[in-house]
């Protein structure tokens, strides 16, 4: 296939633009959420696996990853997409107070898939988009050790701050023992080196 040059240049430019649009739109979408979204805190317990392609991260285990099953027993099953409405409790942490099949108009919400439905406890478990928090390769194991040590001594307050906008959510920061992760490392580094 010999394409003449002017045509080749135009086709190539189109491909180049499409290739640039994908990462650009990924970034813009998240930046808009981080800048304009409403802030929520989710309680979590971090653990540390390893992903060879994306480097080290802390896997997040969100405590309140369920919503009450509505009395009307919505016609939903595993894998269905639903809208989970967000509320804050007295301590300021987020939880889901109900789910709907329609887009909510008043409350903040997250669009999520149903992982499973517990009929006994009347809970719908959700597949939330907060699975992992990425860290510098040198810092991830340090955080893990510090966290474990902390966890043995007291019950540390661990949570993530997320921004939510039109059903989509982005993690803003991970907090260990009520400190942003960078501060936590700074404050605890000496403690770690003492051992």
């Amino acid at each position: 296939m010999k394409i003449n040059r002017p045509k080749l240049v135009i086709l190539f430019l189109i491909v180049v633009i499409i290739q640039l649009t994908v990462p650009a739109s990924m970034i813009i979408k998240r930046e808009l959420i981080l800048r304009q979204g409403e802030s929520f805190k989710f309680k979590t317990a971090p653990i540390d696996p390893y992903d060879p392609y994306r480097g080290r991260y802390v896997a997040l285990d969100i405590r309140e990853d369920y919503a009450p099953l509505p009395e009307s027993r919505l016609n939903i099953s595993r894998g269905d997409e639903i809208y989970a409405h967000l509320k804050k409790n007295q301590e300021g942490f987020a939880y889901f107070n109900k789910v709907t099949l329609e887009v909510p108009t008043e409350a903040s919400y997250i669009k999520a898939k149903v992982t499973y439905i517990n009929r006994k406890e009347n809970k719908i478990y959700l597949d939330l988009p907060f699975e992992r928090y990425y860290l510098d390769e040198n810092i991830a194991p340090l955080v893990e050790k510090l966290y474990r040590k902390l966890n043995r001594e007291e019950n540390p307050n661990t949570y993530i701050k997320v921004r939510v906008k039109s059903g989509a959510a982005v993690i803003e920061e991970l907090y260990l023992d009520n400190q942003a992760i960078i501060e936590f490392i700074k404050n605890n580094k000496e403690k770690y080196q003492e051992d």
Binding site: M1, L11, V16, L20, E31, Y134, E137
Partner: protein
Amino acid sequence: MKKEISWLYKELPKLVQQDIISADTAKLIKEYYGPVTERDWKGIGLTIFSILGTILIGSGIILLLAHNWLQLTRLTRTIIIFLSLISTQIFVGWVIYNDKSSPWKEGSTSFLIFILGAAIALISQTYNLPGDFNNFILVLMLLNLPIIYLAQVTLPAFIYVLGISIWGINLNNTMEVLFIWPLIGLILPYYFKRFKKDLYSNSNLLLLWEVILASIIAISLSLEWSNAGLVTISYSSYFLLIYLLGSLFMNKGEKLLERPLQTIGMLGILIISYIQGFEDVDSIEIFNAAFIDYFLAVLFFATCVFLVVKYYSSFNKLILSLAILPLLVIFTFLIPSLRIFIYNAYLFYLGILIIVYGIKEKKIGKANLGMLIISVQIISRFFFMFEITFLTRALIFIILGLAILASNIFLSKNRGEKNEDQ
């Protein structure tokens, strides 16, 4: 042939020198056989090294990003992503526009795949996106597909089919997996164009082997597998189909690697017959399967019937014998009690037929394949069948051994005569 001709050309000056042939005759011989196109070994070497270099640097960049530098702010990361992506694109554009040689094209376009992958991975890292490897692969492959058409390259095409296969294998959703067909289909116009030019070039053979294997994976992913009967019909017809296509349109290859269609087709047919000969099933349900199972079974079977009817006269006995497998599969559903007998007899028959053709065509490889089929048959059927006496089994083994020796002696004798004739 090529080897012999280039050997002859090397000999010609000596023969002229020794006055065995005249310079004019030597010229006439050269004109008769035409020029020998030597493989461009330097070009191949350069291409291999440019690909290796690309893979190393690309992997290095990905690992560098995987370190996840604490110092990098979101803005710095965005700048890194776009600077590296745009500069690679400019480089690829320059290579394509100036129609640079193959090592440049292969290296730069493969590198672009790495850079795009690294860019998307870095974004996922920056915004802590949930790991969705499959979507990542699919997006990456589709974004690079047009470059393959524009730059006319091999390695990115190979990576595309590989990536799509990995995507399909990782999917759990049965309906979504059917998209593997149009996705593989997207690269086929490019392949057809290449194959038309020179079917037997190394790079085209590589792509062909890969795409055939990918199609087999695609079938296994598409089928529902709840119905063993339909699965067997689909697979036996498909293997036969590629074997028939190979014997019709790709029969000039001398080596095994140059005949991907026939090799995979034949292997599939033999393996299916062998497995079927073991299964002791009373009857097989032919209903209650997914639509796609019926569809593929009918499609492949009908295409085989069409090919056999259309090209009946150009097929030899061996091809026609292989072609009855799908019919046997259907027949043994109707009369399952004959199953074991039919497949064992069929494999024995095929084995003998292949030996006969091997001897006829003076191809020791083919004759040995026939031997292998019969040996495997005998070992797996008779060795472990304890109702047959040791004496009978012993005799069968001895006869088998003698047959193999005799035919090999016959073939090598034949070869010796051939050499003397020359």
